[in-house]
Amino acid sequence: MTFEPKIVGFLCNWCSYTGADLAGTSRIQYAPNVRVIRVMCSARVDPTFVIRALEEGADGVLICGCHPGDCHYSEGNYKLMRRYPLLKKLLEEYGIENDRVRLEWVSASEGQRFADIVNDMTERVRELGPSTIRPALQADAAGR
């Protein structure tokens, strides 16, 4: 049986969530592996959300926001853009593969783009295999 990764998606309400809804109204088919959590702006995505998702057993985390220059809150996505490399660095330190956490820009009109990103990410995470973070944490907790 092929491994079906669980991916948590944090989508901004105005562009990306609407883009994902558009994929729906346009009946664009894509992989069912991403489960979406809506936030008002990508700037709301606290790095701890990403870490928490990985701790809770996510095999990957996708963050989507408005394209640079198009943020509903004018510059929220720029704030995320600054925070994101720091988060990636931290994850790298912990040995979490680069492809497990991904940041993408999806506008309200880009239903197809959202579907393509989900498919691509699902494929890449599937290649990486299940995340070992949660089992490791559980083993750690049991050992204590």
Partner: protein, 573 residues
């Protein structure tokens, strides 16, 4: 915290959800979760009986939390919030799981879709336990409106608003009002004069005591929020760089369209052959009252080519909607000016969808217009005729109905140029904080149920800036926008979402990181207490400060860390 009593409802949406998601199985799984008192599947949750079910259960079983797994919350969240309010439950005790747009419509594996729907339902149930009762805020509604663009849509919205006694500021970058219709002679299908129609409207707007018109001006910025915007309007004419600041409660964006540049399609010869002209150049001729070639001759053959730039793989994929009827109108006008002229219509499909259009098409066929059908993406080719021919040009058409390659004589060729979004549509979208689609048309709040509003409260769109539109549709949308605005003005106050950020003063260390982050300068620093404070009326709830606060002292109401952590846990359970 007492264990909440959660009602879980999953909507079949007819078969929209049920065909791909086993709703009963999801309801059964949800019923096992702690706190879930009621778990039901129903065919249409948004219907009256569906809502009634929630209200009834809330009253009888004392529900204090409700989860509806159905369509996107962007669609029916207000519906179910209202149902909760009716049941006497705080409306923020609702959470929706989007299992239609983001599940049943996008997956084709029933088992996988059901599993995903279950995960999304669990996430919502897990989150809703942490919801807090919130009260909506009430702000004053400024009774003035900014209308950007003075075409037929802008004029119509402005007049309705002004006639109702409210102030309108109208901005147009041109030195006159009327937009593209000011360039048109007659309108299809009733052959009324566009000028008569416009002149009356323009005169009324210019003379209206409640309308202030800024010509040769542009809106430079729009700040604030629904009910209380401040816009800067700047003159662009030489010697008139005057800037004005206007306070408005609503904004109507009615910036229209521009015509497709026909020289982009090289095989039509536009810009090379002098007697290949665009529909707008032909309108100019009609307004002058003489149909002649560049050489001043009366044409014997007039050919009208449809879908120039529209319905094409290379240029614009969409139909521009007005060109077919305009082309038929030209056939009428040519025939009445030059009765022995041969008129041919070179088209892909005849789109005669509107009121009176099919009749008009029939009448046009009766005035002996030759109709030649070509295939999409197989454009006819125009070339100069030989001196021995009795015409100026020849059009080669691979005619679909006869299946023959036909050479058509023409002295004058009218290209029905399609509509395209204004070249600066992205900048305008940014200015008004709305979105534009891939073609540059502004995106409405909902394509069917809310085609006038946008994702930014208080900003409305009207006319062809939203999509190609004819005059009646533009006017209808504009007047709908005016009605929406007047409804808000008549109440005097606006209810705004209870979602904004709050600082917990006990936790705030006074580091001021958040002060600089806020795009709305909604965070001020209390020097005396040495604490930051959010001005809730200015806060738009993006949450940038919440994620940045090193002390975790800022709370995003309705998007708290706790709520999102619960959602993460639920979605992975």
């Amino acid at each position: 915290m007492d264990e909440p009593k959660i009602g879980f409802y999953i909507c079949n949406c007819g078969t929209n959800i049920a065909k791909m998601v086993d709703c009963d199985a999801v309801a059964e799984a949800a019923s096992q979760l702690p706190g879930v008192t009621v778990a039901k599947a129903y065919k249409y949750m948004c219907s009256n009986p569906g809502q009634e079910m929630i209200i009834q259960d809330a009253k009888e079983q004392g529900l204090d939390r409700v989860v509806v797994a159905a369509c996107s919350p962007r669609m029916h969240e207000p519906t179910f919030r209202k149902a909760l309010a009716t049941a006497g439950v705080n409306q923020y005790f609702l959470e929706m799981a989007n299992i239609r747009e983001q599940c049943s419509w996008v997956h084709d594996d029933r088992e996988a879709a059901t599993e995903k729907a279950r995960a999304l339902a669990f996430a919502a149930i897990s989150r809703v336990s942490y919801h807090e009762p919130l009260e909506r805020r009430s702000v004053d509604m400024c009774p003035a409106t900014l209308v950007i663009g003075g075409g037929i849509a802008g004029l119509s919205a402005a007049l309705d608003l002004a006639d109702a006694g409210t102030q309108v500021f109208m901005v147009d970058r041109q030195d006159h009002l009327g937009g593209n219709i000011a360039r048109v002679d007659l309108t299809a299908p009733y052959l009324d004069s566009a000028r008569d129609m416009l002149t009356e409207r323009i005169t009324r707007v210019l003379e209206h005591p409640n309308i202030e018109v800024f010509l040769e001006s542009e809106v430079e910025s729009i700040e604030g929020y629904h009910g209380n915007f401040t816009a800067k309007v700047a003159g662009k004419a030489a010697g008139n760089g005057e800037a004005h600041e206007v306070a408005v409660g609503s904004v109507v964006v009615s910036t229209g369209y521009r015509e497709f540049d026909a020289s982009r399609i090289t095989h039509y010869g536009y810009g090379k052959l002098p007697n290949v002209i665009t529909s707008f150049e032909f309108e100019k001729m009609l307004r002058r009252g003489e149909i002649v070639t560049k050489e001043g001759k009366v044409p014997q053959y007039v050919a009208i080519v449809h879908c120039v730039g529209s319905r094409s793989k290379e240029y614009h994929p969409y139909c521009s909607r007005v060109c077919c009827m305009t082309a038929l109108k030209y056939a009428h006008e040519v025939k009445s000016a030059i009765p022995n002229c041969y008129v041919s219509d070179v088209y892909i499909d005849m789109h005669a969808f509107g009121k009176g259009h099919e009749d008009f098409y029939r009448r046009s066929s009766e005035v002996k217009t030759l109709f030649l059908m070509f295939k999409k993406n197989e454009h006819p080719v125009v070339r100069k005729a030989d001196p021995k021919d009795d015409c100026e040009m020849l059009i080669e058409v691979n005619e679909q109905l006869s299946g023959e390659l036909i050479e058509l004589p023409a002295d004058l060729i009218v290209l029905m140029v399609g509509m395209e979004a204004q070249p600066d549509c992205r900048e305008v979208a940014h200015l008004a904080n709305i979105s534009a689609d891939k073609d540059g048309w502004f995106i409405e709040s909902h394509p069917k149920l809310d085609p006038v509003a946008t994702t930014t409260d208080g900003v409305y769109i009207a006319g062809a800036c939203q999509a190609p539109k004819d005059i009646p549709d533009s006017v209808a949308q504009a007047r709908a926008a005016a009605a929406r605005i007047l409804a808000h003005i008549s109440r005097g106050k606006l209810e705004v979402d209870a979602v904004y950020a709050e600082v917990d003063e006990d936790l705030c260390s006074g580091c001021r990181v958040c002060n600089e982050l806020c795009p709305y300068t909604a965070i001020e620093f209390d020097e005396e207490k040495h604490k930051s404070q959010v001005i809730s009326a200015l806060c738009k709830a993006c949450g940038a400060c919440v994620a940045a606060c090193p002390s975790g002292a800022i709370k995003a109401r309705h998007f708290t860390d706790q709520q999102i952590f619960a959602e993460i846990q639920g979605v992975l359970a």
